[in-house]
Symmetry: C2
Subunit: 426 residues, 2 copies
Amino acid sequence: MKSALHFLVAARQCEIGELEQLMRTSTLVNLLGRFIHALQKERGLSNIVLASAGARGSEARAAQIAECERIAREVRDGFDHLDTTAQRVGQGARLFSRIAYVLQGLDALPALRERITALAIGPEAATAAFMKLVVGLLAVVFEAADSATDPEISRLLVAMFNFMQGKELAGQERATGVAAFGTGASDPQRQQHWLHLIESQERCFQVFAEFAPAVPLALWHEAGTADATLAVIERLRRVGCTAPAGAPLDTELSETWFDAATRRMDAMQIVETQLATDLLQQCENKIADARTTLQAQQALLEALPPSPQAAGPDASAFFESAAPAEPPAASFGPHLDRSVLELVQDQSQRLQAMQGELETVRAALNERKTVERAKGLLMARRQLSEGDAHKLLRQTAMNQNRRLVDVAQAVLAMADLLPPAPPAEH
Amino acid sequence: MKSALHFLVAARQCEIGELEQLMRTSTLVNLLGRFIHALQKERGLSNIVLASAGARGSEARAAQIAECERIAREVRDGFDHLDTTAQRVGQGARLFSRIAYVLQGLDALPALRERITALAIGPEAATAAFMKLVVGLLAVVFEAADSATDPEISRLLVAMFNFMQGKELAGQERATGVAAFGTGASDPQRQQHWLHLIESQERCFQVFAEFAPAVPLALWHEAGTADATLAVIERLRRVGCTAPAGAPLDTELSETWFDAATRRMDAMQIVETQLATDLLQQCENKIADARTTLQAQQALLEALPPSPQAAGPDASAFFESAAPAEPPAASFGPHLDRSVLELVQDQSQRLQAMQGELETVRAALNERKTVERAKGLLMARRQLSEGDAHKLLRQTAMNQNRRLVDVAQAVLAMADLLPPAPPAEH
């Protein structure tokens, strides 16, 4: 029969297994960050090509497509190297399902690119298509952040996910600005969307700042003050967002805006890389620590006699309130029994504290989960696709000038007023 | 390279793996329920022996100890059959750590029993000792409920956990009533504790009623109306809880109370067994369903050519908003490409909806998590043991006549006012 110590050792082994899994996931997250950055650049260049009817940006776009393809191969490789053996990964179902979705997007990229080259698609539709793929990639990162069982690594993944999401919103803002200046006339609906993107971005970076460690945070503050890029961005935001409906906008500003927004995103990429480095370092440290403790516990396990009552005659201390007992006079070494009992209590207290921290960190992910729940409800009750449900929520938030999460909460609170779900199909 | 469909299949395999794991855990939960019931009975009989200074209950207690030992062997067997291979079980660390704790308690039981036989321990201390073990066993059940990734099974486990917890509180109430009538005099502090136990029980059974399926729920309502037991209990609760401080209580009522409370707990055990049956049935159904779907997906996978673009030429539909595309004229069968894309989207929507439901169900576990977080904070900041932290919270709740979770929330909100944590040790 297995003793308490056997299960303590098994618990440690689980922790190490989970940490190793987190390390692999973190490596993948890092790679996905690089891929998203490349796709964001390709999206920007595609817009320039489409807006200029092929006159500008084609060469840079071709080079960027090659770069994207190179990283896409790495991403596919990374997916291939994930351990998909059933039962090996907790919460694997959602992660793998997200990956299946992304792979569909990757497979569809060549056809999208052909349509862009043939100018057979508008810039807004092209932006929306790239967005769909990036959103799918971010969902993979979200699953990684949500599955972390170590609070410190979870903190880093929450910071990472929010930073990546903020960066993607910055990319969407870049496209919106290019379109606004490019058309040469102010449009209130686009202005509203633009302001919404600025606000959502800021919320993401706030969460990032709350959870990020010192070095990437310092890099981030530095990026905000070191050069004049941000001043240009703020000036053009003001020009673009405050012009009265129909007022002319200087089309020359389109390029100025694109360059400044691109410099800003490149600076973000540096912060993101630093965050990824910290993440991997943290995983390595944690694994090394856990292995050291495991070795000590295994040594103890081997020193104990193989009996069901392996915890020894002093186990009765279990029912004592506090007050340290006398060291037991056991045959297999002094303090050994006592130390098993203490080990169990220490580990139990440590996991308890970890769980508490983890819940606190994960609360930062709850906003997204609320939105997802509201989306799920709309999908089920109103027969909407995921995309349409999201659009409906976002549009309502914009129209009512409320945060997305507040609208989502309202939807959930009103659940009973929505039409009932149709019979479930299998 | 693996295609989208590969990952869809892997996601299904994960789901099946998780369901199988849930089935094993549910079997264990069922066994733990029977063991807790036996321990509760042993606790009650031990109290009778101690209260009568060995004059009554000794024979029944000896038989009950034999019964407990028999089930304890089954429990140890059940633990032994859990798959503790590292990485195989998500969130295994916490589960195994809880089990290690329980095993310590099992090892310490013989010594506790000797002290009871020798009348070397008071009834209250004996009750507290058994409680400690039961609380440890309930923590194993909680981890099982918290790790379920299927919302319907999670519902059942939440119902089960709350029912078991309510039943344990009923057991503690039985002991409190026996002590109250046994001493023959009313004590305001004991009355307060008694009322607290009634209130906490009712909250547990409310959650149970919210999540339980029809059959066990009907059994539960029936148990509340079918016989006169509940009327006896309510009358004795009134007598015991409203007597003025120091007023005499009829010691004869001790036995009447014990018998009625025992009948009530036996009725609860029947509900719990029904719930366990439903739980296992639900696991079996889900596994069978998932296997059928998996077979269909695997057949589809084998029909596809092994190319990285295995999702086929129609993958471009990925970027279409809605509007069904024409069936593709692919070489490997009509509708095949389209169906992979649809499969990915269906699965993604299904997991989305499941996740939403799961979050809703798990919210019912958050109350306990809030208490655990507050406990963790007190342990870290005030250097308390887990038991002392719990006692402090419970005592504060009783003194202020507030719910435990409200006190826990207040503690968390005041975190900044507590002394800072000492430097962490490894």
